[in-house]
Symmetry: C2
Subunit: 181 residues, 2 copies
């Protein structure tokens, strides 16, 4: 079976919804997409402190799964080995939150297939779905770029805007082998 390495934040988990909540709480206004499209939300004026919340206990514990992610992951698992490969070791307190979140929201993914790391260049796989170009650049397999505000100008990778487009991409891959998703 071919192997898919799935990024967690901003691919499986809607981290920006949480950033928007904290932004509004701390700065008194709620930015729209156009305000931070092309950058990271914490690069907006007065918002640099938001990134520090990633270190807080609980930050990653109650984020919402991306629409259709659970359903499409279950479908992909019929044909692929699905690993979660998440940048977690920068944030000590994220480790348990992420473990709990995955076991709650994606129970079909075994703990054997969790990878909590820092530098993803150590990952050996066939596909990587990630919102960070820097992770895809170091990957030897095929990279899919999941759209996030900070990567909208990149044209080097197959772009996926949501999980239905991920499904569509792998439908195409499987069709080449005469299989259906």
């Amino acid at each position: 079976m071919k192997r898919i390495a799935l990024d967690m934040d901003e691919v499986m988990a809607d981290i920006y919804a949480k950033f928007l909540y904290y932004f509004e709480r701390d700065l008194g206004w709620r930015p729209e997409k156009k305000d931070y499209w092309g950058i990271k939300i914490y690069e907006l004026e007065g918002a640099t402190h938001l990134r520090k919340y990633l270190h807080a206990v609980g930050f990653f514990s109650d984020v919402t799964p991306m629409p259709s992610s659970q359903k499409v992951v279950a479908e992909l698992q019929q044909h692929y080995e699905v690993f979660v490969v998440t940048s977690a070791t920068e944030f000590r307190n994220s480790l348990v939150d992420k473990w709990d979140w995955l076991s709650t929201h994606f129970p079909s993914i075994h703990w054997k297939n969790y990878v909590f790391c820092g530098d993803k260049s150590i990952i050996d796989g066939d596909y990587m779905i990630d919102d960070h170009v820097s992770n895809l650049q170091k990957f030897k397999g095929k990279g899919l770029l999941y759209t996030a505000s900070h990567n909208v100008h990149n044209k080097d990778y197959v772009r996926v805007n949501n999980w239905l487009e991920i499904r569509q991409f792998f439908q195409g891959e499987l069709a080449k082998e005469g299989k259906t998703l």
Copy 2:
């Protein structure tokens, strides 16, 4: 730089010293090496419950680094990218303990180079040092088998009994390139 993937338990960290403590506490006698040589200590009669302690908060927090491991890791880092690749995701509560232990005892290893995983077949590297034959079997690079009670009969890999032998092995590798450790 070539990359070394270092296992943590029983390679960097002396887990068996802790198992021996719990064994004696719970069973009233302290086994000698000959009693469990060839098996895992918790395969001894009456000791199967010991493996459950791996799930406890704090189990991994106060283990002792293997003799000379810190010094030799620092030397290796002059010539290699050193990653810690540890089977951790089976044990939710080990994650923070392992993060704290590494940052305390091996501060020269950056968090970017921690990998907390389950199935190590996803690791891409040049060398892997591990006490589990099953991890080395799936590895595409060169595997070094760190002696532990359960692997003493294996003859498929370069065997290292301690960190001075690890140093010696890499002295040999570097000498081929005209370098010294």
